[in-house]
Symmetry: C2
Subunit: 313 residues, 2 copies
């Protein structure tokens, strides 16, 4: 194994780049803007220039680089090519081939950003030491990534781990962004939690700290939940019931060692894990009741870590 | 690759044994009784004696055998050992080690019976040519097996592919055999279909061929469905909606190339596949709408096939 690897997590506005030792140690991280103009044709050349610059700056030779892993904000085929990536303006980009050419033959692999983040959390984060996990990212939406035997389950159409779009309520009237109705994302994302909160607030209810809150957000809901506010407890219990129940169903599919919970909502910390785990255990299939719950620990760096792990396979 | 492999699918009453060429060609199959007395301690020696007898009979030497794959009717750890198998009376049986010793060092691997059946259907059955699939076995219960990248997803506790115990109806009052309420198995197994049928029959309804049926079974329901009986159509549509919807959720987890439908109920054939696919497509996540549907084609031999495929990994 060579000494270094690069992890490049390409987002719609910035590319997060990390130079890692292949042991998993982050040496340095930095960002460059993502230039989505002209169908995003400059994105990979910009990244290549940045990597070459960093190697020159640090006196690192090509021979010391194991490879470059790249995370893409959209579906990625098993061979690392991208058919369409709306966020980058890409159509038919063979990432390993194009980036490999730009980097004079260094090994390049690519994966979906949510999936590589799950791989990163398995390698050096909340799922460290585990070989299989399901990562749930509770942000503006609900994302996910599934790892089985230390490998990403990318899926035939790149929809592996799209667990935010499991339908948990077939009676829902309002459509999700994806077009389905009753997706997990509609209840358990930051926006979903606000929606649940507003429904409870609109009903008659006992006095609540949330009545006085300037803005009702997932954060204010969990903050008041931690103060044992009766209404916040109801909101969080509904959220935890829906998420815990969904996880109990996923356990019957891939039966992971650990559920890793990340994304902005997971900043609520241990109390969130505890209540979701409580509802999970209530509903879980008998042999799966002891699946662990862990908080993601790499934050926005998870993708970079996972990109590097990708090239170590 | 050596010329031959054995596939041994151990059931609670008989062991199905197949001699295969490693190309996938079944050479001969036979059965021996499963002796579950004395905590099942004679099961592996009985199988070993049968295999040795067959090799002698056919003049096949040890060197011509690639290995022996064994299917177990219960949870199997990743290393092929079995903690508890109620159906066989086993506790702590290290199948590869014990069987390997009995067969003087021939490679032995073991897997759960439903999972190896899925692997068999991938190799030589309804999913032939695909690398990832979800198999759904509609029998007395609903079983399953999940294949990703040509490998079984066994799960941390052997619960990978236990898709019959996904809760599809949290409002169900009656408990499933597993203890949960509202499991897929309670509606989509042969017994589940009869239950749906009896509910419809108990309600006021138009004249139906099912009123005259001597016995209402999954078979009679599908037979009358094929004759366009209005009540049978309602029953089958309810079954297909529940199953199609569940499959649309599984697609967001592992996103397989194909759903393979097997088990006794699948004898209803193409009309069953068609209506389940119709409801699946209605509910599917946009990128997964074209996942194929196929009937299992190896019947009760699927496990033997999968056992052999296991040793070719």
């Amino acid at each position: 194994m060579k000494k270094y690897g690069f992890g490049v997590d390409i987002g719609g506005t910035t590319c997060k780049i990390g130079l890692f030792e292949t042991t998993g140690q982050l040496v340095e991280k930095w960002e460059i803007p993502t230039n989505t103009q002209d169908a995003g044709k400059n994105i990979l050349p910009d990244v290549a220039a940045s990597l070459n610059g960093k190697m020159q700056e640090r006196g690192i030779s090509r021979d010391e680089i194991e490879g470059i892993g790249i995370g893409i904000p959209g579906p990625v085929q098993a061979d690392g090519s991208v058919a369409v990536c709306v966020n980058l303006g890409w159509k038919n980009v063979d990432v390993p081939k194009e980036m490999g050419a730009l980097m004079e033959g260094i090994l390049v692999k690519a994966g979906n950003d949510a999936n590589v983040a799950a791989l990163g959390e398995m390698w050096q984060g909340g799922g460290k030491g585990c070989k299989s996990l399901i990562m749930v990212t509770l942000g503006t939406g609900v994302g996910g990534g599934i790892i089985v035997d230390e490998k990403i389950v990318a899926g035939t159409h790149g929809a592996g781990g799209e667990i935010g779009h499991i339908v948990v309520n077939p009676h829902e009237k309002i459509a999700c962004n994806c077009g389905r109705k009753g997706c997990l994302e509609q209840y358990c994302s930051a926006t979903g939690i606000v929606r649940i909160a507003k429904e409870f607030l609109a009903e008659g209810h006992e006095a609540s700290l949330l009545d006085k809150a300037e803005e009702v957000s997932a954060k204010t809901v969990f903050d008041t939940y931690k103060e044992n506010d009766a209404l916040a407890v109801k909101i969080v219990e509904k959220f935890a019931y829906i998420l815990g129940h969904a996880l109990s169903n996923f356990a019957c599919v891939t039966d992971p060692e650990v559920f890793v919970i990340g994304g902005g909502v997971s900043k609520a910390g241990e109390p969130l894990i505890e209540i979701v785990n409580k509802y999970y255990k209530k509903d879980a299939f008998s042999s799966c009741t002891d699946i662990k719950f862990a908080l993601a620990s790499l934050g926005n760096d998870a993708g970079m870590y996972g990109c590097v792990r990708l090239i170590l396979e």
